[in-house]
């Protein structure tokens, strides 16, 4: 059966459900030049992206309590988060971050589809919000870009491409340095940037590689990351159900397609192909929900513009669920979403408990490693311990050590009061002498460490000869 529709000039090849549009039949890359689109969701996206990019660029410069707001200090194994300091012993809390992000993304996907992809994902934010806008500025609209790509390397092409790539390089350098400033404080990074690469070989190599990756990704790799590499997109089929809100085409309203002034009964879709022309991943949303659709809502805005022109209502392509497109009601609250919310409530409770239980200082009693676990000295049993004290507060703090048990023992502490700087750690040797006749198996050594920020009890087993 032959097709009655004319092939649009800009698209020599049409999207289908059997291939990825970005890969040609010979395996080479098919560059997609999405058309420009204006509309409600483009405006919402631009505002969101501006806020996200501003936060990303400004946060490294913000200090809370004298320390950077967000910093992962890998060599010293410290994590600074808005005034709170975590050290390596707190790393188990990271489990909550990973599981929380995972749970939340699952809930968000099951309920609202791929809103993360279209509005929050750095790939979209930087590609559509920064790099493609520069491209549009220099190379023009979709048909101009397509024409430039097919041109031989004449003066115009060399000029446009090189100026675009030059700006891309500068942007990529800014992005990679900003990324690094979440691991190296900005003032240290500033000094590193203004000094010789030989003084900071690791950071310099990282910047070289990372800038190259960012540059290559946003210049050429682009949608292939979403379509071929990212696992999140491929999870969607496991997370959706007929009540999940997705970007979709109202088949009931649009079919059968017909030209604008075609006689006879036909649907609202006039087969203008705008929805396909604006798609950055190269699909036809009228074929249904697909893995490639990143929920950017370009097709929604494009179709609404056309619907205005043919004086039909908006929403031929819109956010709705599969049930909604069939005319049934969408249930936001359903067993799946309720279960997700219940699990997230549990997670929140456990996380709050863990975070509020986070102590501002670490105190551990550890046995000193010598040849014997106890020695007998003039009728007294001696045990040697070490109190490991770490100050995790942002300022210097005084710690008082008090011996509690055994009460009949003599404690020899090198210092009963210790002043520790922020993040300073010290080992304080503690010797406990217990008269032999007072000793019985199961005796514990207990000490109390007190400070302005709270107190902690430490304990260890006192060991002696078999009786």
């Amino acid at each position: 059966m032959s097709s009655t529709t004319k092939k649009p000039k800009a698209l020599a090849r049409r999207p289908d459900l059997e291939t990825l549009y970005c890969i040609n039949e010979d395996g080479s890359h098919n560059t997609i030049h999405p058309a420009d689109v204006k509309g409600r969701f483009q405006r919402i996206k631009k505002i969101t992206w501006t806020l996200l990019i501003a936060a990303y660029m400004i946060l490294p410069w913000v200090k809370v309590g004298g320390n950077p707001a967000i910093l992962v200090d890998l060599p010293n194994r410290h994590f600074f988060l808005f005034g709170k300091i975590f050290n390596a012993a707190d790393f188990w809390l990271f489990f909550f971050i990973l599981s929380g992000v995972g749970l939340f993304l699952f809930f968000l996907s099951a309920t609202f589809g791929r809103v993360w992809c279209g509005y929050g994902c750095p790939q979209t934010v930087f590609l559509e919000g920064v790099y493609r806008r520069v491209e549009r500025l220099i190379e023009g609209g979709a048909s101009a870009r397509d024409r430039l790509a097919k041109m031989p390397w004449n003066g115009e092409k060399i000029r446009k491409r090189f100026s675009k790539l030059g700006i891309y390089l500068v942007i990529s350098l800014i992005l990679s340095h900003t990324f690094l400033s979440y691991f190296i404080p900005v003032d240290v990074l500033q000094k590193a940037v203004t000094s010789s690469p030989a003084a900071h070989p690791a950071a310099f190599t990282f910047i070289l590689l990372f800038t190259a990756i960012i540059f290559g990704n946003f210049t050429w790799f682009r949608e292939q990351l979403c379509l071929i590499v990212c696992p999140y997109g491929r999870l969607q089929s496991a997370l959706y159900d007929p009540d999940t809100i997705v970007v979709g085409y109202d088949r009931k309203r649009g079919e059968p397609r017909g030209r604008y002034n075609q006689s006879g009964e036909h649907g609202d879709c006039i087969d203008c192909y705008r929805c396909v022309a604006v798609c950055p991943t190269g699909i036809d949303i009228r074929n249904g929900t697909q893995m490639e659709c990143v929920g950017c809502a370009n097709c929604i805005d494009a179709c609404d513009v056309v619907m205005d022109k043919v004086k039909k209502p908006h929403g031929l392509i819109r956010y709705d669920s599969e049930n909604g497109f069939e005319g049934k009601k969408t249930r936001i609250l359903r067993p799946r979403t309720i279960l997700y919310m219940a699990i997230m409530a549990l997670w929140l409770g456990a996380f709050m408990y863990a975070v509020f239980g986070h102590s501002p200082f670490d105190a551990e009693l550890v046995r000193l490693r010598t040849d014997s676990v106890f020695t007998i000295d003039n009728g007294r049993i001696r045990n040697q311990f070490r109190l490991q004290l770490t100050n995790k507060l942002g300022n210097a703090t005084q710690f008082e050590i008090k011996a509690l048990e055994p009460e009949t023992a003599q404690f020899v502490l090198s210092a009963k009061s210790v002043l520790l700087k922020s993040l300073e750690s010290r080992n304080i040797p503690i010797f406990v002498f217990l008269p032999e006749k007072e000793y019985k198996p199961g005796t514990d050594v207990r000490l109390l460490v007190q400070s302005k920020a709270g107190k902690k009890m430490v304990q260890g087993r006192f060991l002696g000869p078999r009786k």
Partner: protein, 197 residues
């Protein structure tokens, strides 16, 4: 093969190839992206070369061999350093006359936890008094060096050698030589043999 599908009225499917269909679930055999294929081929080539180099011809160093080689070279470098500056009483005494080295040694003494047993003024509490003329394990500078390096495990003095290294222990000894025989007030009673020095 072209298919007409009621759900996709204007959609033509024509690839000239059969789709494998399993109960309606279709699987196609499209080309992988060229960059994917080529990185895969290169990885295969690399792995063959790696296998031949390390496991077949064994022209490469195994992890154990690489480690042993590095340890040998480190030992040679240490011996060269030792030969240039042999550890003698004279050297340690010379270091103790250098105020910068003595200051660094004092910082090490205070920060390293020596004060836990020997007190901040080195008068001794659990550990012996370091400011008198009585020495339990030898009072010559090289003997003091070895006491710090190897520790006295039976008595509870930890071995600092692996922790601090050669140059830091030399600085400590320099500091101790500078406070030797200063008899701080409230120091522990004498232990060991008397040695003038």
């Amino acid at each position: 093969m072209t298919e007409k599908n009621i759900d996709r009225p204007n959609q033509l499917v024509d690839h000239g190839e059969e789709a494998h269909s399993f109960d309606g679930i279709q699987e196609y055999d499209n080309k992988l992206p060229n960059w994917w294929l080529w990185t895969f081929y290169l990885a295969c080539l690399f792995s063959v070369g790696y296998w031949i180099h390390y496991h077949v011809l064994q022209t490469g160093l195994s992890s154990m061999e690489a480690y042993q080689l590095e340890m040998k070279e480190a030992k040679k470098a240490a011996e060269k350093r030792e030969a240039k500056n042999p550890l003698t009483d004279a050297l340690l005494l010379k270091l103790s006359k250098d105020p910068k080295i003595v200051a660094e040694g004092k910082t090490l003494f205070l920060k390293n936890g020596c004060v836990g047993c020997h007190k901040a003024d080195a008068g001794g509490m659990i550990g012996p008094n370091l400011t008198d003329e009585y020495w339990l394990h030898g009072g010559k500078p090289t003997q003091i060096y070895h006491t710090i390096f190897n520790g006295v495990p039976l008595k509870g003095m930890p071995a600092q050698g692996k922790l601090l290294g050669r140059s830091r222990i030399q600085k400590l000894v320099a500091y101790l030589e500078s406070i030797r025989n200063t008899h701080v007030k409230g120091g522990k009673a004498p232990q060991g043999k008397k040695e003038e020095g």
